[in-house]
Amino acid sequence: MLEFDDRAKIRLDKYLNKVKVYLRDCKDVSVDDILQNIIDHIANETVNSPRPISEDELEKVLKKLGSPDKWVPQEELSLWKKLVMRLQAGPEDWRLSYLSFALFFIAILCLVLCGRHKPIIYENNVQRPDINLYQQMNKVSEPHKFITVNNQKPHNLILEKRYGSSLFVIFLLASFIVSRAVIAVAIEHQELLGKKWLIYPSLLTVYVLIFGLLMFWPAIILGSLANQFIHSKIWFDITNTATNSQEYLLWILIIMSLGLWWAIFWGTISKSLMIKNTFRPFFDTTNQTLNKVLAFAGIGIVMLSIIALILTFYV
């Protein structure tokens, strides 16, 4: 029976977790088998060591076993781990977190500084500060490329504003990718510790956007479809009423679709591996009670919408 002192136990846990992380992507090995082999190896190497096994004794064995990242051929590693190994040149693994935060900071700077300037509009080579951008938009045939005033190309500052937004997106995405790389090799939440404050800004910015789309996509799609239907001849023929009075029906349908989707999402999909992997590390541990409450809230919204629909037709 192996007995370790407290520090040795922590060291061993870290080592075994590292083995799990690096061998996770290898399809042709059994991680459980290898972990058992390692435990047996340590037991045999320390058979003559006093019990409990100290951290120093354990370290000698682990040094001979070597780092698990050297056990896996490079081609079998996932893209994330290859990126991390390329960037991590030394023992300091905060480098990636700093890089993530630096990229996020640059993204914000691009948005703030490059987006601040109002575009200067020139007409016949004379500056026209009185004309604002939106007034001129109507005269533009290709608004996304450039703005012309009386067929004259405007001052370059107009392009700068667009570059600011584009650079913000590019740097934000780069920061997000680096943050995900940090999480990919973080063994447990405790491993993130202080690093999380460096990687969370970019993660949260992107996640909030994705989560918003995920939560409200039924409203966007169904609302658009329902709106077209309600304004169609078919609807008029069925109801024989003006469309304006049916706007509230559109809202009921949107709310009902949202409720239904939320019930499905929080009842089942939120626990799936796909959601966990998409929103790591925030969905790694799920609060079952909260999920149930949100799922029932969704069902409640659907019921209320049905009642509202029924009342609409009978009142």
């Binding site: 088998d33 082999n37 076993l65």
Partner: protein, 138 residues
């Protein structure tokens, strides 16, 4: 300064360049080559170690680490064993031990024996050819 002085300085600089830079480059080349060589050899050596007997995982590591230059990290043996097991070249069985908890032993399957024979033959051919190249008088 005389021409000889500059000549001496130039030789000293070249020596330094060779020692400090090229030596490092030579070492890196050797290290890469040795790593590639070990990668291919380890599986062959693991199978040859188990041939004709059943061995406990730790015993396999102990035998192989005695071969100079073959094993840098002892842990590399275990993923190889796992991979060989998944390929059905080796199989495992549990046996009670007087020295402690039950142990997992590895032995070759029929498929593993056949594969080992092919690999040994291939290795012999390469070794013979390589030895001939080395011995050739030029």
């Amino acid at each position: 300064m005389s021409k000889n002085f500059y000549k001496i300085q130039k030789i000293a600089l070249t020596d330094t360049l060779h020692r400090d830079i090229l030596f490092v480059m030579d070492n890196r080349f050797l290290e890469n080559w040795a790593t590639q060589l070990r990668k291919g050899m380890l599986e062959l050596c693991v199978l040859n170690t188990i041939k004709g007997t059943s061995l406990y995982g730790y015993d396999i590591v102990r035998k192989l680490r005695d071969i100079k230059g073959l094993v840098i990290s002892e842990g590399t043996i275990y993923p190889i064993l796992s991979r060989l097991k998944k390929e059905h070249f080796v199989e495992t069985f549990i046996e009670e031990s007087n020295e402690g908890p039950a142990r997992k032993y590895y032995k070759l399957t029929q498929k593993g024996k056949a594969m080992l024979e092919v690999m040994n033959k291939y290795w012999n051919e390469i070794k013979t050819g390589t030895d001939q190249l080395r011995m050739e008088e030029k």
